[in-house]
Amino acid sequence: MPVIKSLEDLKKAREEALKKRELKATSGTVQVIVGMGTCGIAAGARDAMKAILETIETDAISGVIVTQTGCIGLCEKEPIVQVVIGEQPKVTYGKVTPEIARRIMKEHVSSGKIVESNKINL
């Protein structure tokens, strides 16, 4: 049965993640939030989310919590992605294409550099 094989794989993945957690210094949690209301989805939020998760996989970015939220009332700026790193103020991005989503992950989440071109000042 393939399911059992996959659960074995998952146990290995868990061990990998545990090892990384031990190595990683506590730099505060990183949260990435994607707007997934009807407006966000229609504007391409799933593609942005897909790019975010793919970048986590390809660049092996550990310790990021990805969540979704409903419509926040900025429908014209969707897809919207928000990044919260530790105690720092929340950064909101608008018009997040898959390419911008990858840049947010590589530049902001991994290196702490805000992607100014798509930042929204609330």
Partner: protein, 196 residues
């Protein structure tokens, strides 16, 4: 929204907003009866009969119930254009089931689309919900239940890189085990330019 999978993402958001702790998604393809059916069953707060009557009406809902909005009326119109229907049964305090059915071979029937991405998004972004996904093709069926996954992981988040790969593979295996052409079908259909 030109994909059933995008509508699924949208409808499931309503279940999450209704405080559901368990959401069951079922996708049925039947080549003999020529139907494509998707159901979403949640144990959220449910709706009164009046509210159920309202959510499928875009002219009432867009003004009074912001949480539901246009998503359901759009899906309903798409199903009815394909000899299908959209039906909601709900009970206050117990939960809601939304069922949408299409004539599978109808020329205007939207593609299933990127279902695997939708499922991964829902599961990873909403870890407090117990997700169940059933896929049926003719008389074969398979179920993906995320509870064994979460039990195995313990306190490791679902968004860890290796875990994401595992979850995606497990969902892919669930559909491919039943219908080997599922992904090919859903992806090529999605990428086709829309001709009008």
């Amino acid at each position: 929204m030109r994909e059933l999978s995008l509508h699924l993402l949208d409808i499931a958001e309503n279940s999450i907003a209704a405080g559901a702790k368990r959401i069951e998604i079922s996708l049925i393809e039947d080549s003999v009866l020529d139907l494509l059916q998707m159901s979403i069953t949640d144990n959220g707060k449910g709706m009164s009969p009046e509210m159920v009557a309202q959510v499928t009406d875009p002219f009432i809902t867009s003004r009074t119930t912001r949480k539901v909005g246009l998503g359901i009326p759009l899906l309903k119109a798409a199903a009815e254009a394909c000899n299908g229907f959209l039906n909601i049964t709900s009970e206050l305090g117990a939960g809601t089931t939304l069922t949408v059915r299409f004539q599978r071979s109808h020329i205007d029937r939207m593609p299933i689309g990127d279902l695997v991405t939708t499922m991964v998004n829902l599961i990873v972004c909403n870890p407090m919900v117990h997700w169940l996904f059933e896929y049926r093709y003719d008389n074969k069926s398979a179920v993906f239940d995320d509870e064994p996954v979460k039990d195995t992981l313990g306190d490791i988040p679902l968004s860890e890189p290796e875990v994401l790969t595992c979850i995606r593979n497990m969902i892919e295996e669930t559909v491919l085990g039943i219908n080997p052409e599922f992904l090919q079908d859903s992806v090529t259909l999605t990428n086709q330019p829309i001709r009008r």
